[in-house]
Amino acid sequence: MIPVALGVTFILFSLLSVTPGDPARLALGEDASEESLNEFRREYGLDRSFLVRYGFFVYNAAVNQDIGRSYVTRRPVAGEMANTFPVTLNLAFGAITFATVLGMTFGIICAIKQYSIFDNVTMVIAMLGISTPIFYLGILFILWFSVRLRWLPSSGFDTLSQRILPWITLSAPSMSIITRMTRSSMLEVIRSDYIRTARAKGQKESVVILKHALQNALIPIVTIIGIQFGLLLGGSILTESVFSIPGVGRLAVEGIKSRDYPIVQGAVLYIAIAYVFINLFVDLLYAWIDPRLRTRYRY
C-alpha cells in the first residue's frame, strides 16, 4: 500500500507541477499584492522546487500524519477529506451494491433462459448501459424522474430519496458489465460435467444453479466487481458534479479549477488507498471462494 501511495502522489505532484496557472493568484484573487502573493508562496512552499515539496509532503504525511492545508479554505486537507470521503464511499458502495445485486440476478436469469426474450432485451439494455456516458445518463434521469415525473429530487445526498438517482446513475455501466459477466460465466459453468453430476444426484434445479453453478461462476464475477468498484470511485466525480453531491470527486474538481493542489492530492491519495483496500478484499474473497487458491498457499 505504501509503494502505491508514494507512486500515486509522485505522479500527481509531477502532473500538477507542470499544470499552468498560479495557485497563489487563484487563492488570493486578482487584487492581491505581489508581497502577499510571495508571502503565500513562502508559507505553502510554492517557491521551492517540486522535488523538495514532494519530500516535505511525504515527510509530513509519514511523520506528522499531516497531508497539508487547502490553499483556498486554509483548512487541513485531512479534515476536508473526513467531511467528503464518507459521502463518496456511500455513493460508490450504494452503486456497487445495486450493480452487483441486480447485475448478478439478471445475469443468472439470462444464463438460465439463454436466447429468450428476457435474455435478448437485457443484453441490448446492457449494451446501452455500457456505452452511455454517466453524465449523460445522469442528466437524462434528472430530466425524466425529477423534472418530468417529479418523483425524485435532482440534487443533494442527505435523504434516501436524494440518493436513489445518483446510485442508479453511477451503477448503470457496472451493472451492465456485471450482468454480461455473470451471464457468460454461468453459461460456461452450467455446461460443465459437475453440474450434470449434481443433477444426476437428484438435486433440485434451484440448488444446482445457486449452490453448484454460482459458486464456480463467482470467481470471474468477483474480479469484475472489484475492478468496477475502483472505476466507480473515479466515476463518482462525474456523478457528484451532475447531482451536486458534496463528495471527494466534486471537491477534487473544484480543487483542480482553483489549483488547490493539496486538496487534489488528498482526494487522489484517499481514492488510491481505497482502491488498494478493495483489491486486498477481492484477493481474500478469491481464497474464500476457490479452495484451489487456498491450498496453493498451504502446500
Binding site: Y194, T197, A198, A200, G202, Q203, H212
Partner: protein, 332 residues
C-alpha cells in the same frame, strides 16, 4: 398397485434427437433394450453410436435444448419414467438410478469437499442429520479405498483414479438399483484403469447392483458383464449373454468388431477400424443402419430396418440376412 415386472429396465422404441446448426442429429433411433434385476450388461459401440445419449435418457438428463426424447418408453421397475413429474424424476435420479460419468477430472465440483459431495447425495435421499450424512460419506470413501480422513479435501488434491473412486462413492452412496457407468476408465492411465475396474467388480459383488457398463473395450466387458449389447447408429444390433456373444457373434457388425481385434492373446482389446464409417447421424440410411458398410447387404437391407429376432435362447440379432439364414435352416 405396482405390477412386478420381470425387467428392472425396459426401453421401447426410444428416439432421441438433437437440433443442431448442421441439422437434426438422430442420436438414438428406435432403441429397444431390457435389463434384469442384478444383471450387468456391457453396452459396446463406436464413438457417436449414442451410448451416452441413451444413458442420459435413462437418467432423464438430456439437455433440452438442443436434445429431445421424441418417442418411446422407458420402464423402470414397471413404470414409464418419461411420464413422471420432475419431482418424481428427482427421486429416481441418484436414489434408484445412479450414473458414473466418463471424465473424473471434470465430474466433481471443484469448490466443494469430496465428503460434502458424497453427503449431498445421502442428504437428498435419506432421512439423516448432516453429521450422519458426513459419517456415511466417509464410510463410502473407505469402501472405495480412500482414507476417510481425506474427506475434507477438495477434488484438485486427488489424482484422476482417486477422483473416479470418489465419483463411484457418490453413485453408490444410496445403494441404487441401477448403476450406469459411462466409460468409467477411458480417461485414466492403464494401470489405474485396472484398479478402478477391480474396485467396480468388488462393489458389484458387494451390492449386486444392476449395471450398464458403457465401453469401447470388449475385454472389460468380458471381465465384468453378464451380457453384452452391441450398439450402432442409435440402435442395438445384437444382444446376448457374454459367453454366447463372444463364442458366436452373429451380426456382421459384431463379427467385424471381433475381427478387428488383432489377437486376443496379445491383450489388445481396443476396437480397430473396419472398412467404412458409421453413418452421419443427421442423415441416417432408410433401411438397416449398417447396410452401407455390410458386405452381405442387398436391396431389402437398404429399404427396411430389421427388428430384433431371437436366433437362439437369449440371443437377439437385428439382421435380415441372419433371419433369412435361420428361416432356411428351419425349413430345410
Amino acid at each position: 398397485m405396482t405390477q412386478h415386472s420381470e425387467f428392472l429396465l425396459e426401453i421401447r422404441d426410444l428416439r432421441v434427437q438433437f437440433h443442431t446448426d448442421t441439422g437434426l442429429v438422430k442420436a438414438v433411433e428406435g432403441l429397444n433394450f431390457t435389463l434384469k434385476r442384478g444383471e450387468a450388461v456391457g453396452l459396446v459401440g463406436e464413438t457417436g453410436a449414442g451410448k451416452t445419449t441413451t444413458a442420459l435418457a435413462i437418467m432423464q438428463l438430456i439437455a433440452s435444448p438442443p436434445g429431445k426424447i421424441t418417442s418411446g418408453q422407458i420402464f423402470f421397475d414397471g413404470k414409464d419414467i418419461l411420464t413422471k413429474s420432475e419431482e418424481e424424476k428427482r427421486h429416481i435420479r441418484g436414489k434408484k438410478v445412479a450414473m458414473i460419468f466418463q471424465d473424473p477430472m471434470t465430474s466433481l465440483n471443484p469448490v466443494l469437499t469430496v465428503q460434502e459431495q458424497i453427503a449431498e447425495m445421502i442428504r437428498l435421499h435419506e432421512q439423516v442429520t448432516n453429521k450422519e450424512a458426513l459419517e456415511k460419506a466417509r464410510a463410502m470413501l473407505q469402501l472405495v479405498g480412500i482414507q476417510p480422513e481425506r474427506g475434507p479435501d477438495y477434488p484438485h488434491q486427488f489424482s484422476g483414479g482417486m477422483k473416479q473412486r470418489v465419483v463411484i462413492a457418490i453413485a453408490l452412496a444410496c445403494n441404487p438399483q441401477l448403476l450406469i457407468a459411462d466409460e468409467p476408465t477411458t480417461a485414466l492411465d492403464v494401470t489405474i484403469q485396472a484398479q478402478v475396474l477391480e474396485l467396480m467388480r468388488e462393489l458389484k459383488q458387494h451390492f449386486n447392483t444392476a449395471t450398464i457398463l458403457i465401453t469401447h473395450d470388449l475385454g472389460v466387458v468380458a471381465e465384468l458383464c453378464d451380457s453384452v449389447a452391441i450398439m450402432y447408429a442409435g440402435r442395438i444390433l445384437e444382444k446376448a449373454d457374454a459367453r454366447t456373444l463372444y463364442g458366436n457373434p452373429q451380426h456382421p457388425y459384431t463379427q467385424g468388431l471381433f475381427h478387428s481385434i488383432p489377437d486376443l492373446t496379445k491383450n489388445v482389446h481396443r476396437l480397430n477400424t473396419m472398412p467404412g464409417l458409421p453413418p452421419d447421424p443427421t442423415a441416417l440410411p432408410p433401411g438397416c443402419c449398417f447396410a452401407p458398410r455390410c458386405q452381405y447387404a442387398d436391396e431389402a437391407c437398404s429399404a427396411n430396418s430389421p427388428d430384433m429376432t431371437e436366433v437362439e435362447p437369449g440371443h437377439f440379432v437385428a439382421c435380415f440376412k441372419i433371419q433369412e439364414k435361420n428361416g432356411r435352416q428351419a425349413h430345410g
